[in-house]
């Protein structure tokens, strides 16, 4: 079973203060790990290390025990600002990896259509992506990441720019995509409810230097997959209590 492991990684940007200090984290297939923490505590830096966009100053990043040297197709990334390619059609965006690999146009199109179907965008393959709504674009970004059939899915606030209602719909889509692909998933969010609703495990980070201060296993997402309504989950007392608890960890609130 694939494992993506960060082993005691530390990081500082050129000449600056340490941004991450001795962080260890393991992501296995089937897990949905959500990182929360205040702005600037190093969440994005951590994800960029895992993705291979950054190299740690000390510590190691391993996939199945082997150190990684840069990004790799087994670790697909979904970006907050979708990072789609506006010069390509929706379908060509989804099939971008295939394009790089030199797969023929027709085959690329077949692949793209299958994935667009999965994310609920069947029939929009020929649209220029700048004619899609924010929520649709995030789906395309997800489809593009899933296209490579990755072992891991790394997502940095993928729903951050969406409005409340679209966001709720996308949460269920993420749950389903994770469930069906089985990819080990790492997601960053500012939404405490979102974290509770999606995660199998929540990682709370604290700033200066960025470090993990809490790990919390939850299972609301599995309850949702089992058929319970989002509304009943989110208003259940356990959920509300977990939410307050988590907010306390993040903001280290003094009980007022």
């Amino acid at each position: 079973m694939p494992h993506l492991t960060l082993e005691n990684v530390s990081l500082r940007y050129d000449g600056g203060a340490p941004v991450l200090s001795n962080v260890s984290l393991d992501i296995a297939s089937g897990e949905f790990i959500v990182i929360v923490g205040r702005s600037g505590c190093g969440k994005t830096s951590l994800l960029n290390l895992a993705a291979g966009f950054l190299t740690p100053d000390s510590g190691r990043v391993l996939v199945d025990g082997r150190p990684v040297a840069g990004p790799g197709a087994e670790r697909a990334v979904v970006f907050q600002n979708d990072a789609l390619f506006p010069w390509l059609s929706t379908a060509e965006n989804v099939a971008f990896a295939a394009r790089l690999a030199g797969v023929a146009q027709a085959e690329r199109r077949r692949q793209a259509d299958r994935l667009l179907d999965i994310v609920g965008l069947a029939g929009l393959g020929d649209r220029p992506i700048w004619q899609l709504s924010g929520g649709q674009r995030q789906r395309v970004g997800l489809a593009r990441a899933l296209a490579a059939d990755p072992a891991f899915l790394l997502m940095d606030e993928p729903l951050g720019a969406l409005d409340a209602m679209t966001r709720e719909g996308m949460q269920d889509l993420l749950l389903n995509a994770w469930h069906q692909s089985g990819a080990g998933t790492l997601l960053i969010t500012h939404g405490v409810e979102e974290a509770l609703y999606l995660a199998t495990r929540i990682i709370v980070m604290a700033p200066a230097p960025g470090r993990i201060i809490r790990r919390l296993d939850v299972d609301f997402g599995r309850r949702r997959l089992a058929g319970e309504s989002a509304r009943s989950i989110k208003s259940s007392p356990t959920f509300v209590a977990a939410r307050e608890d988590l907010l306390d960890s993040i903001f280290e609130r003094e009980a007022a």
């Binding site: 966009f53 970006f79 506006p86 971008f96």
Partner: protein, 282 residues
């Protein structure tokens, strides 16, 4: 002067809402259009009256009628040994030759500056040094070095075009969304593929903008380049006409130059819209 506050306060205050909203409300247009129409009519009328009643001598201000006649005459019979069309194509030929040359040099240089530290080290100081010098200041030097022939004229125009294209290309390359680069890398792109599949298309809108600005700069410089030792070209034509005091041809030439500048800009904008329809949208 009245401040159109109603208009101002209706404008959407956030960028996102822009897309969802209809373009500028049409109800306000007429005021502008009517005033504009009146202004232009008034100007044309003043011109006609001043020249018709010879308030100003024809030497200084030929009438609109004389200017249009000059257009027809020069179009058919020519002036200083070439027809209007020959002057125009000489000028356009120079500008386009310069454009091709400048683009072939400036785009790779812009890529080098924008995408590599070594490239920046080599070319940035050169460009930063050349940039502020008015291309016309080179004119005498270029004439000493390369003579008064076509190459000199094309070179002068090309020099004027270089900086805008390099600078736009550089900013286009530097402005490539790092997330897009990262996205492509995590989808398996090699360095070459990054350049070809991400950097180039990302920078294309900037490059085209640079080319558009460069065409404008080149067209300006053209007129000056033709002040020296040309035997054809719009700039040469109006200068010769001025020396023979043929003011109607001078005015006609200015109008043609304006029209061409306008057309070039419009064509480039059209090309931009065609080639990079996404620019500014995503």
């Amino acid at each position: 002067m009245s401040l159109d506050l109603a208009e101002a306060s209706l404008a959407p205050s956030r960028a996102e809402s822009e897309a969802a909203r209809p373009p500028t409300p049409p109800r306000k247009r007429p005021v502008v259009a009517i005033t504009a129409g009146l202004t232009l009519t008034a100007l044309l009328l003043a011109w006609t009256i001043a020249s018709h009643f010879r308030l100003v001598s024809a030497l200084f201000l030929p009438s609109p009628f004389e200017v249009s006649r000059a257009f027809l005459t020069v179009a058919h019979e020519g002036f200083v040994d070439a027809t209007l069309w020959q002057h125009l194509s000489a000028s356009l030929g120079r500008v386009f030759a310069a454009l091709v040359g400048a683009t072939l040099i400036a785009v790779p240089v812009g890529f080098a500056i924008g995408s590599s530290r070594i490239g920046r080290g080599i070319f940035d100081p050169i460009i930063e040094f050349l940039r502020p010098i008015p291309p016309l200041a080179y004119l005498p030097l270029v004439i000493i070095w390369f003579g008064i022939g076509e190459p000199s004229k094309i070179l002068i125009i090309g020099i004027a075009m270089l900086a805008p294209i390099v600078i736009s290309t550089t900013s286009g390359v530097k402005g490539v969304d790092p997330d897009r680069l990262n996205a492509a890398r995590s989808l398996g792109a090699t360095r070459g593929q990054l350049l070809r599949h991400v950097v180039l298309p990302s920078a294309l809108p900037s490059i085209l903008t640079g080319i558009r600005i460069a065409l404008g700069a080149g067209w300006s410089t053209l007129v000056a380049a033709e002040l020296v030792a040309a035997s054809r070209g719009l700039g040469f034509m109006i200068q010769s006409a001025a020396q023979f005091l043929v003011t109607d041809v001078v005015l006609m030439g200015i109008l043609v130059i304006a029209a061409v500048a306008f057309a070039l800009e419009a064509i480039l904008r059209w090309i931009e819209r065609r080639l990079v329809p996404w620019a500014g949208k995503a």
